[in-house]
Amino acid sequence: MRIQLTKLAHARSGDKGDTANVGLIALREDFYPLLVREVTAERVKQHFRGICKGEVERYELPNLSALNFLLHESLGGGGTLSLMTDAQGKTFSTALLRMEIDVDEDEAQTLGLKS
């Protein structure tokens, strides 16, 4: 089944120059392995096609049940150069939460994700 990340995680994003960072945090510790497996740098790059023009890097923070993504070349030049409404990348967090991932039925059952 397909599950949207809003059901599994919360997030905060910000900027460093033309790079947006998105911290993706599992709502429960037992969701974290699912995020590690499914929310890869490649999938995130694909999700943000047309928005992120550079590489996507991913870092794991198992201590916080969180992943940190760096989306390079995403903010129209960044800082004061950018003409974007969201020049600071603050809404990249919720944009990532739109992503849907595959969870098999048994796993969804175990994690209590089936309604």
């Binding site: 997030a11 900027d15 928005i51 003409l83």
Partner: protein, 455 residues
């Protein structure tokens, strides 16, 4: 040695809630108040202010604030660390001395000044000696924008502030100092940490990172369970309660709004994070993958387990340079077919700019209400949208072209698609773009200066 110290965050940026630092002083026990005033391009604004008036060039909000809180700070020996000095630390300190005189507090406390961050006068000498100050993001050498530089300041760390505190300063005013240093310095000073206590220094640095954005660690901008975060109107700013072993608690004053819990602190930990293994400051390298959090009561989170590594031998330099001009114009289109009308207006506008022969480095069109924040991820907008804001921005080197653009927005109301409004604010303003150039410089090039004197 004290068993613990409480450091209160009073400002997350220059322009944050004006009464937050007052409430931190009056709302309960604290030992230190830290105030971060300097965003990346703030220094260039201050350079311009000082060029017009040699008395200016610092965060002026700091002075009326001191007038409000100085009596309580002196009476309760609350110490203040603030990077309010901007490009005129001495001017800022003089203004505070004047306030002290007015309040009859002259001679009752000591002021510490930290300078040595401003390398603007040394740029040519540094470039000549082969210190290229290459852009950390693009790799370009600084010489490519040499003529357009407006300010150049090194980020100083905690240690010069520690020296000021060791010499009895109650109010420490710096120029460009790291946000984290404003919190770390009091902890080093109180607990006598050494320059190679890397784990502890990393702990104090991460405490600084958590509270440096003000209420963003105590319920503000918090996605987790946001509907149930209580009383943001009365939000309490965060307080770091630090211990000699390098652990700390994040909390806030009793009776304030907002919320401090593990999810809120996690969100702030990840804010503006790069490689979490290596959070580099002048004082240490902090490893965010070693941070452990646990709820320790209502609005109280324990932070422990943090590991650090030796500091690097460079300091970061924040350079600002003039990079052209920009303007942004907006109009609002209403139902029916709001999005389609806004698109038609954009095409009309662009055709007119073309006919006028105006050229820009970039023209960006966004449709607020349809795709301005999530772009194509938002999907195709409904034809039933109640309204859409057309938002067009241009950027270029020619001020005249940008100015001409600002005169093409209002005419769209009478000469473009129907159902349009929202021009009450007048013509868009042309803004000079002051861009940010991050670079590195060897620590050996920089000698911070510390002065401490009676107020």
């Amino acid at each position: 040695m004290k068993e613990k110290i409480r450091i209160a965050s009073g400002q997350g940026f220059w322009g944050d809630l004006l009464d937050a630092p007052v409430r931190q002083v009056e709302g309960g026990p604290i030992d230190y108040l830290m105030l971060d005033y300097l965003a990346e391009v703030t220094m260039s604004i201050m350079q311009k202010q000082r060029a017009r008036d040699p008395m200016m060039g610092y965060a002026r909000d700091f002075v009326p604030l001191m007038k409000q809180i100085l009596p309580a700070c002196v009476e309760r020996t609350i110490r203040v660390t603030a990077n309010a000095g901007g490009v005129n630390v001495e001017g800022c300190a003089n203004a505070v001395r004047e306030v002290a005189r007015e309040l009859g507090l002259s001679g009752k406390f000591r002021i510490g000044l930290v300078t040595g961050d401003d390398i603007m006068p040394r740029i040519d000498e540094l470039l000549e000696r082969g210190i290229e100050l290459r852009n950390m993001d693009t790799g370009e050498p600084l010489s490519s924008v040499r003529e357009r530089i407006q300010s150049a300041n090194v980020y100083l760390g905690a240690w010069p502030m520690v020296e000021a505190l060791n010499r009895g300063a109650q109010i420490v005013i710096t120029g460009r100092a790291t946000d984290t240093g404003l919190t770390l310095a009091p902890i080093i000073h109180e607990f006598g940490w050494r320059a190679d206590d890397w784990d502890k220094l990393a702990g104090g640095t991460i405490a600084g990172h958590i509270i440096e954005c003000g209420a963003q660690a105590s319920g503000g901008n918090c996605q987790y369970d946001w509907r149930n975060i209580p009383d943001l109107a009365n939000v309490g700013f965060p307080i770091a309660e630090a211990y000699p072993d390098g652990t700390f608690f994040i909390t806030k004053h009793e009776g304030t709004g907002g919320r401090v819990n593990v999810p809120a602190v996690k969100e702030q930990l990840l804010y503006e994070m790069g490689d979490p293994h290596s959070y580099i400051t002048p004082d240490c390298i902090a490893d965010f993958t070693t941070v452990h959090l646990e709820d320790a009561g209502p609005d109280r989170v324990r932070v422990f387990g943090i590991k650090g590594r030796p500091a690097t031998d460079t300091l970061k330099v924040s350079i600002s340079y003039s990079a052209g001009f920009k303007a942004v114009g907006t109009l609002v289109y209403s139902w029916p077919d709001a999005y389609e009308k806004a698109q038609a207006a954009d095409r009309t506008l662009r055709a007119r700019l073309e006919r006028l022969g105006l050229h820009f480095d970039q023209i960006l069109t966004e449709f607020v209400g349809a795709n301005a924040t999530h772009g194509p991820l938002a999907g195709e907008p409904s034809p039933d949208l109640a309204e859409v804001q057309l938002r067009v921005g241009v950027r270029g080197q020619d001020r005249k072209a940008v100015e001409r653009f600002t005169k093409e927005i209002a005419p769209l109301i009478l000469t473009g698609p129907p159902g349009v409004t929202g021009f009450a604010g007048g013509r868009p303003k042309v803004e000079e773009i002051v861009a940010y150039w991050p670079a590195l410089i060897p620590k050996t090039e920089i000698a911070p200066r510390v002065e401490v004197s009676e107020a």
